[in-house]
């Protein structure tokens, strides 16, 4: 949708990731170069073992590459993290069970040093955004898995991050919940307008959500294709049943190597 502007929001150049195990050296990622534009929604798609989560963790500065470099708006990933540019959503919600829903959402704001009244007001708006108004005083265990993941999304959005990193956030949910949350995520993104990197192993999910899909293949983890998704926005559920959609599925399926 969005054309790449002059300075890419996220730029990976020749990124390489090696692990030393007792038996041998494992090459998890081989020569990955990716440019992601500001405001773009991209997916990292691939089977397990392709290094897609590793790639996301590299962007988040949770791990550091053994070769190549990761740049975020021209700076290092570490600088971007310290400047609190990231919102992150994991595969599991990772809510703090001693905090009520609203206080889970305000956690990043507390770390930023925002005033309490402002924080709480913001949490209420975010709850509205993710459709959980009225649940602010519940504890995480009182919510279903899908609701918990929505709280995690609200938390990730709370500090208005320039970059939202999502690591298979809906993979633990059933198909119906997942599709509904896909639609909700897109409507939230259309309001917030930040850059989103979304890791998934579901081909339809990656197509439905993204402007571009980066297809990764395993052993060693490498980029085997970049697929533009020309479907118009806003995306609607019935697009999942169009010939273009199926054609994209077939194209992406054909682009995997060595699976």
């Amino acid at each position: 949708m969005l054309e790449a502007t002059s300075v890419p929001e996220i730029k990976l150049e020749g990124v390489e990731m090696k692990y030393q195990t007792a038996a041998a050296e494992v090459l998890a990622l081989h020569q990955i170069s990716i440019d992601i534009a500001r405001g773009e929604f991209v997916s990292l798609l691939g089977p397990s073992g392709c290094g897609k989560t590793t790639l996301l963790r590299l962007m988040a500065d949770l791990i550091q590459p053994t070769g190549g470099e990761v740049k975020v708006a021209g700076k290092s990933a570490k600088e971007a993290r310290l400047a609190q540019k990231y919102g992150i959503v994991f595969q599991s919600p990772v809510l703090y069970e001693w905090r009520k829903v609203k206080h889970n959402i305000t956690l990043p704001l507390e770390l930023m040093g925002m005033k309490k009244a402002q924080r709480e007001e913001k949490a209420m708006r975010l709850l509205e955004l993710v459709g959980l108004r009225g649940f602010e005083d519940k504890y995480p265990w009182q919510l279903s898995g899908g609701m918990q993941q929505r709280v995690a999304i609200a938390r990730a959005l709370s500090m208005e991050p320039e970059i939202l990193l999502m690591d298979e956030p809906f993979s633990a949910l059933d198909e119906f919940t997942r599709e509904r949350l896909n639609e909700e995520l897109l409507s939230i993104w259309s309001e917030v307008g930040n850059t989103v990197v979304f890791v998934t192993h579901s081909i339809p999910e990656s197509i439905f959500l993204s402007d571009r899909v980066f297809v990764l293949s395993p052993h060693p983890g490498r980029l085997s294709a970049v697929v533009d998704i020309p479907l118009p926005r806003p995306r609607t559920p019935d697009m999942r049943n169009t010939p273009e959609f199926f054609e994209l599925i077939a194209r992406i399926r054909g682009s995997f190597e060595g699976v």
Binding site: L62, R81, Q84, I88, W98, L111, Q142, S144
Partner: protein
């Protein structure tokens, strides 16, 4: 309202039946020992419940006063020990090096029999109040340190990564993540330690104090069979203090950390 009373009855009824059953059985066995088998010193072995109860009632003032001395000293020692234990746990969680240094000493400290340690401490400080406080604290710190340390270490790597991704300062990681996560551990330590702190204080009193429930206990034991009922009363008073200290900690836990799995209603939420 109706629903609540039914629930209340459903929970309370078994307890009442159980307690009454034990009392009736107790009474029956002491009657058996005394009047049927005619064992020597039958009442010292198992006195009549109703007589013990009467003694408890008659000497309630004394028991309450002396028990109060024991309990308040035990409570001070417990607080000091709990505080020390928590501090030690935090220090050990901060540094592996410190843990390796301190842990063997903490374990070794628990190998010393309290029965031997109590007179030593009493000999050094020469004050029964301080001795009681020290022994109660000494007993408390170890279970608290051990359980709280486990709690501090119990945080998942993803919840730590979340903090890291938001560039949280080290103190924030402690204050907002490790510390709250350790509260259940802290309370398991406190719940183990509370009755032990009371027992420890009583033990010190047996070494020759002038006040406290342990003193009346010892005195009535010396006086022999004629004071059996009073002796049993002091034992019961001691037990009640232990149970009360445990219940107090349980109540506090419910207030401080109500989010824990064991406090959730059965059948899940929502």
């Amino acid at each position: 309202m109706r629903h609540q009373t039914v629930l209340f009855r459903g929970k309370l009824l078994p307890v009442i039946v159980w307690v009454l059953g034990v009392l009736v059985l107790w009474e029956a066995v002491s009657w058996l020992l005394l009047d049927v088998i005619k064992t020597p010193l039958a009442q010292s072995k198992l006195p009549y419940v109703h007589k013990v109860a009467a003694t408890l009632w008659e000497y309630g003032d004394t028991l309450l006063k002396e028990g109060g001395v024991t309990f308040s000293n035990a409570a001070i020692g417990f607080l000091l020990g709990g505080f020390t234990g928590a501090l030690l746990a935090i220090l050990m969680s901060l540094s592996k090096w410190l843990e390796q240094l301190a842990f063997p000493y903490a374990v070794a400290s628990q190998m010393i029999p309290i029965l031997g340690l109590a007179p030593i401490i009493y000999g050094i400080v020469r004050d029964e109040q301080i001795s009681r406080i020290l022994i109660s604290g000494y007993i408390t710190f170890f279970p608290v340190a051990l359980n709280m340390l486990r709690g501090l270490r119990s945080v998942t790597s993803s919840s730590l990564e979340l903090m890291y991704a938001y560039a949280a300062k080290p103190w924030a990681v402690y204050w907002k993540l490790r510390f709250p996560a350790s509260i259940p551990g802290l309370f398991s330590g406190l719940k183990i330690a509370a009755p032990l702190a009371v027992t420890g204080a009583i033990l010190v009193e047996l070494m020759g104090a002038r006040r406290g429930i342990g003193v009346i206990m010892l005195r009535n034991l010396y006086y022999g069979p004629s004071h059996t009922y009073m002796f049993w009363s002091t034992v019961i008073a001691g037990a009640v203090m232990g149970i009360a200290s445990y219940l107090l900690m349980s109540l506090l836990e419910r207030l401080v950390a109500p989010w824990q799995p064991e406090f959730r209603p059965k059948g899940g939420g929502q």
